[in-house]
Symmetry: C2
């Protein structure tokens, strides 16, 4: 067989040949306006970028950072940098500037491309990072401030005669850092051309996301976050229309985009979809979405109530699972045919599982001794994963036993069960599990049950120290606007679903939950606040 490499060059060339007229629609800062360009433009401008950066001396394997929202120029960086043999490194503007400075230095980013709207953030980083040149992409069309170069000038300096360098499929193409945790610095993941192309093929598989050229794809995961789950690359491979919200992540604008651009496929974390669902349920007006619209939810376990809620809106919401280290979602919840016939309760329980692995990826649930747990849908263990789209190490770090098993599987830090059909269900992060009287309580299961209460908008459950039981669950609850309920109401509502000792000892009603850069609840912050306030646990009002 021919040994041509799996590479993003092929994906871009394919787009030129078959889908030059496919559209990338980007919401600009003036929200009323959508910038539209075609894959032909993407092709031309990505190659101009590759040519220009090469002329500026960019060498194979070097990193070019982006500090950008989700829009067409970020797409150009997604392709233009890797096809030059270099590595596109997406910086996350939601991180603390100290963290961003650390990450850019650690990755040895040589150049930076930045949205003008994010220049204030860049100025906070100041001289802690030295980029050889900073190219500013003007979203507003405003002039570029002194001290920076104009991204459009950079593109204009590229030749149309660019020739691709020799690319091996294992060459680095992109880079993303995990969010820093309380226990350590952020860690870099390097994605190869091979891993990105294989991830795209996994996304195109009909039983996975099943992206087709007729799709209108809107990644509600920002492009600075884990390559937006690799979906922008997959959309270009499929030839789909892409809808990108730039930096407008407000729920109303997302829903408006879903409607006016006739989106057929959206991806996001539970908090984003929860806000969308609540907006739809408030029914300010009747939205008309494209027939065939389907949503995928990842990043954290999807509450069953949310799946039922979207079903009432006529929109399937499909759980999936992945993390930075796995390139994209490598577990998707597609029901096997016989499961469609289950009675309602079991049917939705099946729908709310996390799913099974897409082709090429292997998953297992390991007990503490390393053996696989029984496939009974109840025994918890650590989710471990393996495959050609899974990181084998972190950038400039030796693989350590906290991250990788001795037989070469990635330890995800997620706790899950597996049932007889092979479906896993994420129960919790290991560090969020509550150990009460020697037994584990899943904070996520409690949260999802609480969110089933009609008055509840959001919930988070954490462990608080307890002298008798070691740890006990405490719930933080955000009510829907105007709702009035007390902790006892909620306790009564969820009681039938759990053993008595699982039920939270306390319900704390709050205005909102602290969120991380990807929109997930930061339980660490809740725990720290609880610790600072002793046993009272109440948040500042």
């Amino acid at each position: 067989m021919m040994n041509g490499p799996l590479s993003l060059v092929h994906v871009l060339e394919r787009a030129r040949r078959y889908f030059p007229n496919s559209i990338i629609a980007s919401r600009l800062p003036d929200r009323s306006f959508l910038h539209r360009c075609s894959y032909a433009d993407l092709y031309r401008r990505s190659r101009a970028l590759a040519s220009a950066l090469t002329r500026r001396g960019l060498k194979k394997g070097e990193a070019v950072a982006t500090l950008m929202g989700s829009h067409y120029a970020h797409m150009e960086a997604y392709f233009g940098i890797p096809i030059a043999g270099a590595v596109v490194h997406t910086l996350n503007p939601r991180l603390h500037v100290d963290e961003t400075a650390y990450i850019a230095n650690h990755a040895e980013d040589r150049f930076l491309i930045v949205d003008d709207t994010l220049l204030p953030l860049l100025e906070q980083i100041g001289n802690r990072v030295h980029f050889e040149a900073i190219f500013v992409f003007s979203l507003n069309g405003y002039p570029i401030p002194p001290g920076y170069e104009d991204y459009e000038d950079l593109l204009a300096s590229g030749g149309s005669d660019f020739t691709y360098p020799v690319i091996d499929e294992n060459d680095a193409a992109a880079m993303s850092y995990t969010s820093g945790t309380s226990t350590g610095r952020p860690s870099g993941i390097v994605f190869s051309h091979r891993s990105i192309v294989l991830t795209c093929l996994g996304i195109l598989a009909a039983d996975s996301l099943g992206v087709v050229c007729a799709d209108v794809v809107m990644p509600l995961v920002p492009m600075f976050h884990v390559l937006s789950w690799t979906l922008p690359y997959a959309a270009v491979m499929a030839g789909s229309k892409l809808v990108l919200p730039t930096g407008h992540w407000e729920t109303e604008h997302l829903v408006e985009l879903l409607e006016i651009e006739k989106v057929t496929l959206g991806t996001g974390v539970p908090t984003v979809w929860l806000a969308v669902l609540q907006l739809l349920e408030r029914k300010k007006r009747n939205y008309k979405f494209a027939s065939g619209l389907r949503l995928f939810v990842g990043g954290a376990a999807a509450p069953e109530a949310m799946i039922r809620g979207f079903d009432r809106q006529g929109i399937p919401l499909i759980p999936a699972w992945g993390m930075t280290e796995t390139s994209s979602n490598i577990v998707v919840c597609r029901l096997k045919p016989h499961l469609h016939k289950l009675p309602e309760e079991q049917y939705y329980a099946a729908r709310a599982r996390t799913g099974f692995a897409v082709p090429l990826s292997d998953v297992r649930i390991a007990a503490e001794n390393g053996d696989e747990v029984p496939a009974d849908g109840a025994t918890m263990g650590e989710l471990q994963v393996r495959g050609p789209c899974v990181a084998a190490s972190y950038f400039k770090k030796e693989p350590d036993p906290d991250s990788f098993t001795s037989d070469g599987w990635l330890r995800t830090g997620d706790v899950a069960t597996i049932d007889g059909e092979g479906y896993i269900k994420i129960c919790d992060r290991i560090r969020d599990l509550i150990k009460s009287g020697g037994e584990f309580i899943s904070s996520v299961e409690l949260e999802n049950a609480i969110m089933g209460h009609p008055a509840v908008a959001e919930a988070a459950v954490i462990a608080v120290p307890d002298p008798k039981w070691s740890e006990r669950p405490r719930a933080f609850v955000v009510l829907k606007p105007g709702a009035v309920v007390c902790g006892e109401d909620i306790a009564r509502f969820i009681a039938p679903k759990f053993a008595k000792w699982w039920l939270p000892d306390e319900y704390v009603f709050v205005e909102s939950l602290p969120k991380g850069s990807s929109g997930k609840c930061l339980k660490r912050v809740l725990r720290e606040q609880a610790a600072r306030r002793g046993q009272s646990g109440h948040l500042p009002s």
Copy 2:
């Protein structure tokens, strides 16, 4: 990223973990009976086969031949031999025994697994091939004749403790020979684990065949022919139910299987689907097919009339293109969204094109000077292909310029056009083109137009030598039962579609057309018969 190999071991292990209950239904010689087994059985028996052959001394890279129909035991060979590190080599029982003997010797097949129903054929080959052992699979349950070993005994000799050998993704997994032509001996293509897995991912892509676990897949291309277009492997990767007709390729039985097994996806060559369509149109009774049934047609250009005919039956027929050298169909005709809105004539013209390349594969149409032809949908050139699922050479042969271009593309020998949307349309085999007065006439376009006549069942057009024009087209026509038309009727029918000089000079009505092992019309035979009979061209009655 982890560097685990793309391998059939993963595909088989995935089937065990997620789809142990998926069914393989095989038609046995007693036609009333379908043998049913599960993927769990496939897993267990494939591993037993791998273990047993390893114990018999089979070494990495050695070939094991099969001479079998399409059924569950052939599936075991498809997996059991490659997971042992060896190469499954499917012999084609429709070839002449001389050719089969040549192929088995050329491939250095060490063992043979053969259906008992094909033993008479094997005995014709006699001692021209020396297999170290011959294992007979008893389809009928009859005792195994002396001199042979029982396939079931072989399996029983395998241990359940089989451990996989180390497999590199570029290791050979399977092997298939092209049919011999008048110009040369058959040539062997070696498929690697990598190429098979990538081919499967191409097949699973939603815009390609889009196989899902809820599908019931029936390959109407025999498993001894180009790995049945790799579809059996893809079905196992997806977890689909498989329906295999063993050796019952009679149209009525195929249609019955499509119906009773609720098939949702079928693949076959035009002649097979044409016979199916004619059966449905005769409407002996109303068949009830599964909703969502879709058919793919490859191996030769699909007549537009056939696509229209299946549409009238409510069944989409989708053209595709591939050859032994490309593992499977690497071109599929999926309409881009805006093409669905074309007026009827243009819509069906679009549907009848061959399609565009699936991800990972590149196609181009080259003029004689090697440049790409203009994308005008009219200029003919040679279809050339490239990609990780395309053969780089033939087994034990150096790449020669007749087969490969100097820049590394496979020359397919097919003539095609390409339009502005990137859709190619196969016009002919290079050797079947008719050169009349210095201009090319496509035999396939004439055939497809003739087959649009309601009285015509099948047609073939060949070039016959002509003193004035060098070559002129002659049509061979098979009429539908009971139909009465003359050549002039047909000529009048097709005249509006062609320039006058394209129209055949003569129409020869025949009972049937000569067919090759894959069901395609053997024009070589028609040409030879025409040559033997001088200019009369009439076939023996």
